[in-house]
């Protein structure tokens, strides 16, 4: 989905809503983002569970964990390692995560592969909103954890960490992290999803 840059949304007025608490209709583990000051009735109905089907949820969470379709979202150097993870030697497709969907509507997990510059932040926010829940975010590489090698006091160019824009589920350190680290991160996310109910979020 193309995202025009548009005005820079001030980052601090976005509050991270409480995570979806894993009921059948809700967003599984995936959290959803609501504007600051959204009071109770504005939170979509589906986020308030009434009936919980334990076994069915476990089955669905297992299915979700084993078919995480990443969004092709390469920003910088980590994108090359993400492509290497998708290529023949490390092969993400073994875990069902090899189907890279270019359109945000069909993707489950957004892998932040590279530095998020301040000009890119609103585009990232728009892409995250376009993804259907349950959705997850993997922060790959130092730049998405806390700015990495480009962080120094009073710097003007980058957003220091992906969690300032989007609720991140798994952090993968490294600059760039090796493809095995990315696969380990995806498997860790799978475990987190499978453990759905115990993660009250």
């Amino acid at each position: 989905m193309a995202g025009p840059s548009g005005p820079t949304i001030a980052l601090d007025d976005l509050r991270i809503a409480e995570r979806g608490n894993g009921s059948l209709t809700t967003a599984g583990v995936g959290p959803s983002l609501v504007k600051e000051g959204a009071d109770a009735d504005e939170i979509p109905l589906e986020l308030q569970p009434y009936v919980r089907f334990g076994l069915l949820e476990d089955l669905l969470n297992k299915a979700r964990a084993n078919s995480l379709w990443p969004l092709t979202f390469g920003l910088a150097c980590c994108a090359i390692e993400m492509m290497a993870a998708g290529a023949a030697r490390y092969d993400l497709d073994r875990f069902g995560a090899g189907v890279f969907r270019p359109s945000a509507r069909q993707a489950d997990v957004m892998i932040f592969a590279g530095t998020i510059s301040k000009k890119m932040a609103p585009v990232v926010k728009q892409l995250w909103d376009q993804m259907p829940s349950p959705k997850w975010a993997i922060a790959m590489g130092g730049c998405t954890i806390d700015g990495g090698p480009f962080k120094y006091p009073n710097q003007y160019a980058i957003v220091e960490g992906a969690d300032k824009i989007v609720p991140v589920d798994v952090y993968i350190p490294g600059c760039p992290p090796r493809p095995e680290a990315l696969i380990a991160g995806i498997l860790k996310l799978g475990d987190k999803i499978k453990a759905g109910r115990r993660f009250k979020g």
């Binding site: 989905m1 193309a2 059948l24 967003a27 599984g28 589906e46 089955l59 669905l60 297992k62 299915a63 979700r64 084993n66 078919s67 290529a87 023949a88 030697r89 092969d91 497709d93 073994r94 875990f95 069902g96 090899g98 969907r101 270019p102 359109s103 509507r105 069909q106 489950d108 376009q130 259907p132 829940s133 349950p134």
Partner: protein, 335 residues
């Protein structure tokens, strides 16, 4: 001629139920199997592993995908054309299910034995195009619109060589079979190839080749996958669809491939006729052989540009198929 299900079962309502259950079950299994086959075939061609973690040899992978897509949130964008957007996946999916019931799997039993079987198959194929265009137009997204325009132009122009090449087989069957045979009836075509002992692909190689190429274009696959060209138009006409709606398009694409392969099996490779194995086994072996060939081509060829694709169809395929039709007519008259 094969005894149809309705004749075997006395009450027609029950027959319809059996028919629907059979077709839906077969198609669902087929879609799941084909998705798995595609990922494994592409992995084999690309020297990698493909899905291996979910179940033995990754067999349960597509079931996991289907379950995940089932439980995804169905996003409906705000400024879409609501009726078109919601009907499109249905209109793409239903003709495919209907078309599956027309094929003679075996000498004795068939779901239906219609005299206009072949015409119906191509008619249902045409309906799918309308669905794709509605999807592209309804989802109010420039990429989807571009994808829809391309898919309509491509499918309509490749429909012509598809039908002409099938026509040459029908013409041959009618002339060779005498007055009462009807080339449109797929069961009779398969029966004749069994009686004659040779497959029509040996007699009609050019028609088979044209049919195969046009079939590739008809199902938006391989060198002709312009409508949902991943590297150009994000995801083509189904950019705005998420969750189960997107799964319907996915499902319809693989079922379409299956149907086109079945038509090729019946017309050119002798349907269910084969030496040792029972009828349906031969039928499915041939069909899945053709489907594998389509997958093989997808993972080796780059994509044609839009104007090259159109000129290829109008300048080369259509004249060739007309020529083939004329040649068949002369030979059929002479024989």
């Amino acid at each position: 001629m094969p005894e149809t299900v309705t004749q075997m079962v006395d009450s027609p309502a029950l027959a319809i139920l059996i028919g629907i259950a059979g077709v839906m079950g077969a198609l669902t299994f087929n879609a799941l199997f084909l998705v798995w086959l595609e990922r494994k075939a592409s992995a084999w061609i690309q020297r990698r592993m493909g899905p291996t973690e979910v179940g033995p040899f990754g067999v349960l992978q597509t079931i996991a995908d289907m379950l995940k897509l089932l439980s995804k949130q169905l996003i409906t964008p705000k400024h879409i054309d609501k009726p078109l957007y919601h009907i499109a996946p249905v209109l793409v999916f239903v003709p495919v299910v209907a078309a599956t019931s027309l094929f003679p799997f075996d000498e004795h039993i068939a779901l239906s034995n219609l005299d206009i079987g072949l015409v119906l198959v191509f008619a249902f194929g045409g309906l799918g195009i309308v669905g794709i265009f509605m999807a592209g137009w309804g989802s109010n997204n420039k990429y989807a619109l571009l994808g829809a325009m391309r898919s309509v132009a491509q499918n309509i122009s490749y429909e012509i060589p598809l039908i002409l090449s099938a026509l040459s087989v029908v013409l041959m069957v009618n002339t060779m079979g005498g007055p009462e045979t009807n080339g449109m009836n797929l069961a009779q075509v398969a029966q004749m190839q069994h009686d004659k002992g040779y497959w029509f692909v040996l007699v009609q190689p050019v028609a088979a080749l044209i049919y195969f190429i046009a079939a590739l274009a008809e199902t938006n696959r391989a060198p002709f996958d312009i409508p949902e060209a991943e590297s150009e138009l994000i995801a083509g006409f189904h950019t705005e669809y998420s969750g189960m709606r997107f799964a319907l398009f996915f499902f319809a694409e693989y079922a379409n491939m299956f149907i086109v392969a079945m038509v090729a099996t019946v017309l050119f490779f002798g349907g269910w006729s084969g030496p040792v194995l029972p009828g349906p086994a031969w039928f499915f072996i041939k069909t899945y052989g053709i489907v594998f060939a389509m997958m093989w081509i997808r993972w080796t060829f780059p994509r044609l540009r839009f104007d090259q694709l159109m000129s290829f169809c109008w300048m080369i395929l259509i004249p060739l198929s007309i020529l083939n039709l004329l040649v068949t007519a002369f030979i059929a008259r002479a024989v």
